[in-house]
């Protein structure tokens, strides 16, 4: 190799990987002082440039960029409507939109993450991860009364176990606590209350599980949180530690509390904090805790600490067997004995208790929406005496009224409580909804 070719090829020695003629170049350099000096000067300049300080991306750059990418993902999801018939895409799209909105609400999150790791990226990834799961199995506990509705919580109640299953293909779910279970088998929802041996069938969209419903679509949790128009940036924080990303959302109680009867009796009607914990590695929801703030104390009322994904639930989980003899809870429009002459909530309460006092079970069915009156109701309330019926009131977000009452049971026991009655059905029929 001569000097001219060596000068032409000495650049190869400064490439990332040296070519086949590198050895020939080195041989020439070893024997030619002029070329060697020239190469050493090239090498020195190159090394100087290589060692020189470089511009680095600013501290916030990574977080800002991932936020922009998350926004792009949300925009893309909302504009690819033609793909929405595919369940996975729809789940991802809804979730991505929620993430993007949440990211806008969380403008100052980056510092919580240290370095360049961005909250937006973590949340967006969790959305992706949650959108891809096939089944979810959540186990936890809730402060409530066994057998009562899934909405009821109370700081003074003991914890009862709670379990939720969700399958996406086919779409089925089951929510259960002692005394009450709801199964959605893909075609309808069935509620069964074992204590009263009562059941109710309704559409797949029936609201039997109230506040817990969004948990059956975990990828929509963020959307659910965003649905509150009262949410402000200060209401939500994201932190990361010990392999977990924690999203904490504080919410004020919803509803009107001129009368505080329902205050702190459901999660929505309590000042509360939801603490969602996502696994940093899998990006999936790992745990949820809800703490209500009663003014005097902060009480955890719901805890889901064991959340498993992609287990294969047995089919029988989604096939609820209703025992023979169970009475059916029916919709107001299906009530054959409905009393359309009832004028208001107090009238409905008086009618109901009078019917129980007289053990006129057909009359009871005029305001109590079941196929037959359960034996437990007959034996417990039959023959009661009315001591007083007060002025109806509204409280919280309940659509109906509460009617204060005082009754003496046949065995002498005196009960003071509020009967829940409502007429928010198409026929405007007054029906007894609870509170006894």
């Amino acid at each position: 190799m001569n000097c001219q070719e060596t000068i032409y090829r000495m650049t190869d020695l400064l490439d990332k990987e040296q070519g086949p003629k590198a050895e020939l170049v080195r041989e020439h350099l070893a024997n030619c002082p002029a070329c060697r000096v020239r190469f050493e000067e090239h090498e020195h300049i190159f090394e100087s440039v290589r060692r020189a300080r470089r511009i680095a991306a600013s501290h916030q750059f990574g977080a800002k960029t991932m936020k922009a990418i998350a926004n792009e993902a949300a925009l893309e999801a909302t504009t690819t409507g033609k793909f929405w018939h595919l369940q996975g895409w729809r789940r991802w799209a809804v979730a991505a939109c929620a993430t993007a909105q949440l990211i806008f609400l969380l403008p100052s999150l980056a510092p919580h993450f240290g370095g360049r790791r961005s909250a937006s990226a973590v949340l967006a990834q969790s959305i992706e991860a949650m959108s891809n799961v096939q089944t979810i199995h959540m186990t936890g506990r809730m402060r409530t009364i066994p057998g009562d509705n899934f909405e009821l919580i109370g700081a003074e109640y003991d914890f009862v176990p709670l379990e939720l299953w969700r399958e996406y293909n086919p779409s089925r779910w089951r929510v259960e606590k002692p005394g009450r279970v709801v199964v959605m088998d893909g075609t309808s929802s069935t509620l069964y209350i074992s204590q009263l041996n009562q059941y109710m069938k309704a559409s797949t969209q029936a609201g039997f599980v109230e506040w817990l419903r969004p948990l059956l679509n975990p990828e929509s949790i963020l959307q659910n949180e965003l649905d509150s128009t009262k949410m402000k940036p200060s209401d939500a924080t994201v932190t990361e530690s010990n392999g977990n990303v924690t999203l904490t959302v504080r919410r004020k109680a919803e509803g009107s509390f001129a009368n505080t009867w329902t205050k702190n009796k459901s999660i929505d009607e309590s000042d509360h904090t939801c603490i969602y914990k996502f696994d940093s590695a899998t990006k999936r929801l790992q745990a949820l805790q809800v703490v209500i703030h009663t003014g005097s104390q902060d009480v955890p009322v719901l805890e889901l600490n064991d959340i498993r994904y992609n287990e294969t639930p047995p089919d029988k989980l989604f096939a609820l067997q209703i025992p023979e003899g169970a009475t059916q809870i029916i919709a107001p429009e299906q009530m054959s004995s409905a009393v359309d002459a009832i004028l208001g909530p107090k009238d409905a309460a008086e009618y109901f208790f009078n019917a129980l006092a007289q053990k006129d079970w057909n009359a009871v069915l005029g305001v109590y929406p079941t196929s037959t009156v359960p034996d437990l109701v007959k034996s417990y309330y039959g023959g009661l005496s009315i001591l007083s019926i007060g002025v109806p009131f509204k409280s919280g977000i309940y659509a109906g009224y509460f009617v204060p009452y005082r009754i003496r049971l046949y065995d002498g026991t005196v009960i003071s409580h509020n009967l829940a009655v409502r007429n928010d059905n198409p026929q405007k029929r007054w029906v007894v909804d609870g509170g006894f």
Binding site: D12, E17, H42, R54, I55, T65, A121
Partner: protein
């Protein structure tokens, strides 16, 4: 960082993969864009635009295996667009922007050297300085740089060599290369 940068087997398709890509390449791309635009804000804007574009086009780019050079190429094109659409602002002094945890004396010395190198590189044709910086700062091979600048490998090598020769002559005129 460089080890991570070399572990990008294909165009990322998920947000998590993009986060890793950003983490692995952001400094090199911003540094490259800075030397194209002379301004850190513009450089970061350009690079961010490129990442978003890379995400937007991820499905049609999924067959691309040379991810890093293509990103540099996208940044280069974006910088060209910036040049066309904006009046170039004065370059910020490099020394105010570099981060360091070294002692003051070393830092000042290094900053002086950086400033001097910037001045020297600013004195040779930009296409030659560009290739030298890409090879020195971004750990791209000449073949990869050819993808970035849209030229043949021999052309890239020639620019590199001519650039070093000019720097060598300048330094010699100043009294030595060492």
């Amino acid at each position: 960082m460089l080890a991570m940068a070399q572990q990008i087997p294909a165009w990322p398709q998920t947000i998590e993969q993009f986060e890793r890509l950003v983490e692995a390449t952001q400094d090199d791309l911003v540094n490259f864009a800075f030397h194209q635009l002379g301004n850190q804000d513009d450089a970061e804007d350009a690079v961010q635009d490129v990442y978003v574009q890379a995400y937007r086009d991820r499905s049609k780019r999924q067959r691309i295996t040379e991810v890093r050079p293509y990103l540099f190429r996208m940044v280069r094109n974006r910088c060209t667009d910036f040049h066309r659409s904006r009046l170039r602002r004065p370059a910020e002094p490099v020394t105010d922007l570099v981060a360091s945890n070294e002692d003051t004396f070393s830092r000042v010395a290094a900053q002086e050297q950086s400033k001097e190198l910037d001045r020297l590189l600013g004195g040779i044709p930009s296409r030659e300085a560009e290739v030298i910086r890409l090879r020195a700062h971004s750990e791209l091979s000449f073949a990869e740089i050819a993808i970035v600048v849209g030229a043949s490998v021999p052309t890239v090598k020639s620019r590199f060599r001519y650039g070093l020769d000019k720097l060598r002559r300048t330094l010699r005129a100043k009294g030595g290369t060492r």
